[in-house]
């Protein structure tokens, strides 16, 4: 097993595992966010649970951050190594004849997702961490001195999507996520060696996931912008 991450196959296997982990996280993230459309109270309760439960905060959250960092760093490492493998490009390369645009441009869609993630962290994650661990208010209440004021999570979410520019920015971010997933979903299964009689069905499901989840996130942002 020694040195498996030093091999080309070991690196792509690790890349695929981190991708599968992140795709499960995205599904979980979406499942919670969509509650904000149907039931603000349920959204508040689930958000408070996720934001205060020790297992989520101190075990799963660090694993998630490490997973995200690993996926991006390994993505850039692989891109650099792959560029080295062809030092001189073709004068004429008919890329469209043999592969999809998404599969050839994962580094670009991934790069834009990284920029989007940084903005998303500044918008939501950093203020949340500040409130809970710097200010020391883990109550989750709109007014920590008034127990009847209700949870703040839904109000914060709605407030964030008031400006049109932020809604547009998030829509663009989710379009890049869809482009990334359109190749990444099936690619991750191929990398872990899963190419069998279920592959065709899995590819179909992957397309539904790759388009459906980002479209759902776009719907949430547009819904809160239009309804408030």
């Amino acid at each position: 097993m020694s040195g498996i991450l030093n091999s080309s196959i070991g690196r792509k296997f690790a890349m695929a595992l981190s991708a599968l982990f992140l795709m499960i996280f995205i599904l979980q993230h979406f499942s919670i966010n969509i509650l904000s459309v149907f039931s603000p109270d349920t959204f508040n309760n689930v958000s408070h649970f996720m934001g205060t439960f020790w297992l989520v905060q101190f075990v799963l959250q660090p694993i998630l951050i490490l997973g995200v960092l690993f996926h991006f760093i390994m993505g850039f490492v692989l891109e650099i190594r792959n560029n080295r493998a062809r030092q001189k490009s073709y004068i004429k390369d008919n890329g469209n004849a043999k592969s999809t645009w998404m599969s050839r441009n994962m580094i670009w869609s991934g790069g834009f997702i990284l920029i989007f993630l940084i903005i998303h962290f500044i918008d939501f994650w950093i203020p949340e961490i500040n409130t809970k661990y710097i200010v020391g208010d883990a109550s989750g209440l709109q007014d920590p001195n008034n127990i009847d004021s209700g949870f703040r999570y839904y109000e914060e979410l709605v407030h964030k999507f008031e400006p049109l520019w932020r809604v547009a920015l998030y829509c663009v971010g989710f379009i890049f996520l869809a482009l990334h997933l359109l190749h990444g979903f099936s690619s991750s299964f191929q990398s872990i060696g899963a190419n069998n009689k279920y592959t065709r069905g899995l590819k179909g499901f992957g397309k539904v996931y790759a388009v459906g989840i980002p479209l759902g996130f776009i719907f949430i942002a547009v819904y809160h912008h239009l309804s408030h």
């Binding site: 097993m1 498996i4 091999s7 080309s8 196959i9 070991g10 690196r11 792509k12 296997f13 692989l78 190594r81 792959n82 080295r84 493998a85 062809r86 030092q87 001189k88 490009s89 073709y90 004068i91 004429k92 390369d93 008919n94 890329g95 004849a97 043999k98 592969s99 999809t100 599969s103 050839r104 994962m106 190749h183 099936s186 690619s187 191929q190 990398s191 872990i192 060696g193 899963a194 190419n195 069998n196």
Partner: protein
């Protein structure tokens, strides 16, 4: 047909090459691509110019010698054929055709359109074989029962001719379709089980040493492979490598 050929010319491995234009007239649509280049070379020699160097041998699509990146695709625009089996009827009168060598760090250009593909030989030597007693008491292959499905998959993998189109097509110059095919053809058969662990570890190690890129599953190799080698072989390579590593 009258065509304009834009051909990569490079004196040797150390010199810098460039694309050179060659107009060619009265090309028969029934010619193979290599026959068309033969005609061009005949004209160049008649005019006292240096003929274009390119690899070829059997001209029957089975030796894997011919290469050529034609209009941005290895072995040209046709599917399931090598350059020698590509016919000029795939092109139209007045076309401009770009002809370049396969590009990869592991496939350095020797001259014009000829590249050094000995990296594939070294990968094969690292483990692409089985040890068989050939001293007179060789066991007949048919004495070992093998299910039809595995036998067919092993045979399909074994049809890889090692031409390098997979490397040429891949945006990462990855050789994983080639290595996947060579590992698969033995991994699927009982004769290959004994050396399975060393085989896959050594072949992948050599592949990395040669400087091939990493597979990102674009599928370009499968599309361009003249023998239709499936991406399933790369998935099997991944599984075999992980099994051997843990």
């Amino acid at each position: 047909m009258n065509l304009t050929l834009k051909i990569w010319r490079q004196k040797n491995a150390k010199t810098k090459g460039k694309m050179v234009d060659y107009p060619i007239k009265d090309v028969s649509p029934d010619m193979s691509f290599l026959e068309m280049l033969d005609v061009l070379n005949g004209q160049l020699i008649t005019n006292g110019d240096e003929p274009v160097s390119f690899d070829h041998d059997c001209r029957e699509g089975i030796c894997g010698s011919c290469s050529l990146q034609i209009n941005g695709e290895p072995h040209g625009p046709d599917r399931g054929v090598t350059t020698c089996q590509l016919h000029m009827r795939m092109f139209n009168d007045g076309d401009t055709i770009f002809i370049e060598p396969f590009r990869a760090k592991a496939f350095p250009v020797i001259k014009d359109l000829i590249v050094d593909r000995s990296a594939f030989d070294r990968i094969q030597q690292a483990g692409g074989f089985i040890s068989v007693n050939t001293s007179g008491n060789t066991i007949d292959a048919n004495t070992i029962p093998i299910n039809k499905h595995d036998a067919d998959d092993a045979f399909s993998a074994a049809t890889c001719i090692g031409c390098g189109a997979c490397v040429a097509a891949c945006k990462n110059a990855s050789a994983m379709l080639f290595v996947g095919a060579k590992v698969s053809q033995y991994a699927l058969l009982p004769q290959g089980e004994i050396e399975a662990t060393d085989r896959v570890l050594n072949m992948v190690k050599q592949m990395d040493v040669e400087g091939f890129g990493n597979c990102t599953n674009t599928g370009a190799c499968e599309i361009e492979c003249p023998k239709g080698i499936s991406l399933k072989n790369i998935a099997r390579l991944n599984v075999e490598y992980l099994k051997a590593s843990f």
